[in-house]
């Protein structure tokens, strides 16, 4: 069970998802140790190439790689040759020629990770979010967090709230959760539900109460405030009124409902502060911890066994 790259969840087998979640569960134990270091990837190098800004995802990947003793290099769009107009292809060929062993790529354009992977045919590429396509490690860490909170994924009802159209997190969640037997609902303003969404393995809602009714898990997406200015919704106030998730809104969900958010949060917009901070309901900090474990499991899967 080996692949060269992790580019999406859409094409993963359920058994592969299971394997990654199980391994991440083992790796999480390392994160609790006083000395967080294992020699698994010693002598290997990982480059994180972030064509689009992100602090948490890059830190999470680099932390995961360093715990496993890999050397890490970070290239950010603003400081590298990318601003001089170098193509994605040349960036990849250059880093490949330097002997970098694996690449973690964040890019503003959908498909860029897959294209990057095609330029380095013998080395792993991990998609750390490509445009509005997928963010597979986020999908996996969400599944790990849900499994940890609920003991299972199969049979759960998971509601994803927010800007579905522009969310790579939503796509990765939809594919992963549905493959693992959950029943997935999406809800958001009609202007932010993508075309032919009903052909995805989901139920589509535009009414938050209906979408939350009986839900076991609610995954609240970050709303990008700039969407408002191009007419997807009239105001932050109206968005919060219709789709802001709060404890009161969750009254119709299961009594033991669990809430996720991929961060960074707009408190008081898509999620109420009292909800985000309630340890009985919110697992947002667990998501962050699990993110490191999932990225360790991913690096191990793609790089580990080759030595």
């Amino acid at each position: 069970m080996r692949r060269k790259d992790l580019l999406d969840i859409e094409t993963l087998e359920p058994s592969e998802i299971e394997y990654l979640l199980d391994n991440a569960t083992s790796f999480r134990e390392i994160l609790a140790r006083p000395v967080k270091k294992v020699p698994t990837l010693r002598g290997k190098s990982v480059a994180t190439i972030f064509f689009e800004a992100s602090t948490r995802t890059r830190t999470s990947f680099e932390h995961a790689a360093k715990i496993m003793s890999a050397d890490t290099y970070s290239l950010a769009g603003a400081t590298s040759s990318i601003v001089k107009g170098e193509s994605l292809k040349d960036t990849m060929l250059t880093l490949d020629a330097m002997g970098i062993d694996a690449f973690v790529i964040r890019h503003a354009y959908s498909g860029a990770a897959a294209q990057a992977a095609s330029y380095v045919p013998h080395k792993p590429v991990i998609n750390a979010g490509d445009g509005t396509h997928e963010h597979p490690t986020q999908g996996l860490l969400d599944m790990l967090t849900i499994r940890q909170a609920k003991g299972r994924i199969e049979g759960l009802t998971v509601t994803i709230v927010g800007d579905i159209a522009h969310s790579r997190v939503a796509r990765s969640n939809i594919w992963g959760l549905s493959k693992m037997g959950a029943s997935v609902r999406i809800v958001g303003p009609s202007t932010l539900i993508p075309a032919d969404a009903d052909k995805l393995p989901v139920s589509v809602y535009t009414n938050l109460e209906e979408a939350l009714e009986g839900a076991d898990v609610v995954n609240v997406l970050r709303i990008q405030l700039e969407r408002m200015t191009v007419g997807y919704f009239p105001s932050i106030r109206e968005y919060a009124r219709l789709f802001g998730v709060s404890k009161a809104r969750l009254a119709v969900a299961k009594p033991d409902v669990t809430v996720l958010h991929p961060g960074p949060m707009n408190r008081g917009v898509e999620i109420a502060s009292e909800l985000a901070d309630d340890p009985e309901i919110s697992v947002i900090t667990d998501q962050v911890t699990n993110g490191v474990a999932i990225r360790m499991a991913t690096l191990f899967w793609l790089m580990g066994a080759s030595t």
Binding site: S87, Y109, A114, G131, T132, H133, R168, R171, A195
Partner: protein, 425 residues
């Protein structure tokens, strides 16, 4: 050199001819049709048994990239690609750098085309710089040889401007060659909006962007009396809009391209930038409606929208890659494979849509094999099976989704003005 095309199936819709026979080409024109005596001096005999002999194919929708982008294509490579694909004439679109917006550029292209492998007809830009603020000097452009004006790739958004442009075209008896699209609906979309764009996370171009453009332009054709030619119809609704407009008596013709009957938006899966084009590849349902439109005559002709781009331009993030695919060297094979062999249209309809109608639309020589007509002739083998290999294309560019595709039907000889340009044997 005179030519004796012997024993082919002559399909000439302009003269209602579909029969086995000979053609004698002498001094650049068709001298005899039917029975030609063998063994004449100074005549090269070409055995056409089992082949179709048709008036030369004419592609009215070619981005020749001259002037300004000769690294993508130039007159020599573009016309060589045309001849290899069985085309004896092409019409080049005006979205060049600078756009074809003055007589000097038309004359420059004409000069470069002397002795080229196919005739080159020029479609002029409707406005200076394709900015749609000032009309071009159409009468002078027409005198210089422009056969039509249009706005391909830069569709006029301002209906008031287009109304004046079409009124003016009508006065000069020039057809208006329209890219029908409401850009406000397209936004920064890069592929057809639907399930595939949703899964790929690529911004969608809704079908109504084309439909609204087609409907508006059809209204303006009726209002102004100007001949409207609708480029690259890709949606089922556009087919219906054209059908209705014709029923209402609008002076309108329309084309589709081989890619819209042979590929769908699924070609974009894997972020294949060669499948990025405008209008975008649509769905099976659209293909079916377009086929119906071709069969019933709603769609008058088939063109390629040959849009060459350099490899490094297409080897980019999907959203950043340019729109367009080449088509001259695959068009005939795709049409025979996807339209003629399955019985959607007959060979005679195909020749009509790829030769007779294009000549009629632009008012240019060709499209007919009557005695005395210019000897622009395509000989093709409708049964020849071949595999598309972009590496051997005559075009400078390779941006096609059809590499490795098995096709049936291929040109075996292309004759321009009695000159044998391409010959497979």
């Amino acid at each position: 050199m005179n030519l004796h095309l012997a024993g082919g199936r002559i399909i000439d819709p302009a003269n209602n001819r579909d029969e086995i026979g000979d053609i004698l080409v002498q001094d650049g024109v068709v001298k005899q049709v039917g029975r030609v005596d063998a063994g004449q001096a100074d005549v090269k005999r070409i055995d056409c048994a089992g082949k179709v002999v048709a008036p030369g194919l004419i592609d009215i929708h070619v981005h020749l990239r001259v002037p300004g982008q000769e690294y993508k294509e130039d007159v020599a490579s573009g016309t060589a690609a045309a001849a290899a694909g069985g085309f004896t004439a092409i019409a080049c679109q005006p979205n060049t750098q600078p756009p074809i917006d003055r007589a000097g550029i038309v004359r420059q292209i004409a000069e470069l085309a002397v002795g080229a492998s196919a005739r080159v007809h020029v479609i002029a830009a409707v406005s200076i710089g394709l900015e749609h603020k000032e009309l071009v000097e159409m009468a002078e452009l027409k005198d210089a040889g422009a056969v039509a004006v249009g706005d391909d790739a830069f569709p006029v958004q301002d209906s008031g401007f287009l109304r004046r442009a079409m009124e003016y075209c009508h006065m000069l008896d020039l057809p208006y060659i329209a890219h029908c699209e409401d850009k406000s609906l397209t936004g920064d979309g890069v592929m057809s909006e639907g399930y595939v764009s949703t899964v790929l996370g690529l911004k969608g171009i809704p079908r109504w962007a084309e439909n609204i453009g087609t409907a508006r332009n059809a209204q303006l054709a009726m209002a102004t009396g100007c001949h409207l030619h609708v480029l690259h119809v890709s949606t089922k609704e556009s087919v219906e809009i054209v059908r209705q407009a014709k029923r209402l008596g609008a002076p309108i013709t329309a084309e589709t391209c081989p890619q819209y009957v042979s590929a769908t938006d699924e070609a974009c899966i894997g972020y294949n930038t060669n499948a990025k084009m405008s209008p975008p590849l649509r769905t099976k349902e659209d293909q079916d409606a377009i086929k119906e439109g071709l069969a019933d005559g709603t769609l008058d002709l088939i063109a390629t929208d040959h849009a060459p781009h350099a490899a490094h331009e297409k080897e980019r993030e999907f959203a950043l890659a340019p729109f367009g695919m080449i088509g001259l060297e695959t068009s005939l094979g795709l049409v025979i494979t996807h339209l003629v062999k399955p019985g959607v249209i007959t060979l005679a309809q195909m020749v009509d849509k790829m030769s007779t109608q294009p000549a009629r639309l632009l008012g240019v020589p060709g499209g007919s094999l009557g005695v005395g007509d210019v000897a622009d002739i395509t000989v093709f083998d409708p049964d020849l099976q071949w595999t598309v290999n972009p590496a051997v294309f005559k075009s400078k560019s390779r941006n096609t989704i059809y590499g490795g595709t098995e096709l049936t039907g291929k040109a075996v000889a292309t004759i321009v003005g009695g000159r044998l340009i391409e010959s497979a044997s």
